[in-house]
Symmetry: C2
Subunit: 178 residues, 2 copies
């Protein structure tokens, strides 16, 4: 997972992957089938562990709490000292060759899924009367995820954790934004 995270899908060679996993190519193919399936499993694990902050954030009692937890989790996960900088769901395959289109589409769906979950959570906040009834929960979710993806790109560019957290704080000082 760390290799895919750091180098992306196409930038991670089988040799590097198997060496990091401590197994040989044969064992990897017996266990996963091919490189794309291995990436799918790695993405599942990434979702469950480093990106677990998303599911936890959705359980925050208020919409602002959700947004705050999402951005704080993004900042933390994209700037872990011993892990690659950035978000695997973003830099795993943002652009790819024809052979990597399957994984690229997988990550598009992964990001879309994150957006949809946040949108449903904000819809609930509207339904419950926490957010004004004229609020567009989809737009709000797109706004928060856009900030998160932007933070991920900045982290991949080497921007530090403190500065990114300041950006998150600044953005959410005005809430709801619309």
């Amino acid at each position: 997972m760390l290799v895919f995270w750091r180098h992306g899908y196409e930038g991670a060679s089988l040799a590097t992957l198997t060496e990091a996993m401590g197994i040989s190519t044969t064992s990897m193919y017996a266990a996963f089938g091919n490189k794309e399936e291995l990436f799918r499993k790695a993405l599942e694990r990434y979702t469950e562990v480093p990106s677990a902050y998303l599911a936890e954030a959705l359980e925050e009692p208020t919409a602002l709490g959700v947004a705050t937890a999402i951005l704080a989790g993004t900042v933390r996960t994209t700037t872990l000292p011993d892990n690659p900088s950035g978000c695997m769901g973003v830099q795993g395959a943002l652009a790819a060759s024809d052979s990597g289109r399957g994984v690229r589409d997988l990550l598009v769906a992964w990001r879309q899924n994150g957006y949809a979950q946040v949108g449903e959570r904000f819809q609930r906040a509207v339904d419950e009367g926490e957010l004004p009834p004229e609020t567009d929960p989809g737009l709000l979710a797109r706004y928060v995820t856009t900030l998160a993806f932007g933070i991920a790109v900045q982290a991949a560019s080497g921007v530090g954790r403190a500065e990114l957290q300041e950006i998150a704080d600044t953005a959410l000082r005005n809430w709801p934004p619309a």
Copy 2:
């Protein structure tokens, strides 16, 4: 340039590149030296043409005008119907293998340069008294570029122009954010 824009640096093969340019590999190597130099030239052209909105935006009379023009230009350029979706400066090489580290670092510097230009422009706005003196122009620039990079990721994921422009409008409705 379009091939690099669409497939990224490592996802663009020499065969695809030369076919799109209408020349043979020999002519390409005689003219540019190698693939990395070709990418540098393509990035220069990208900066001068599709990304020209940045330089124009910096000449807007107000800081809000600058931010508005940057985000509007980002939305427009990342969702051109006949061009690849997204920003070449982001998806060109966000993650890469070891052999692509040079280009990855080049794009990190490219994004950092964009941030620095915006920061200087906002510093001028502070000096001229347009923005409150306690404003941190660097933080403001990081905020705007974060939104721009986030928009680029969303565009690469297939989000449409109208929705992205709504996000930009929503974000800048509160200005300055800090």
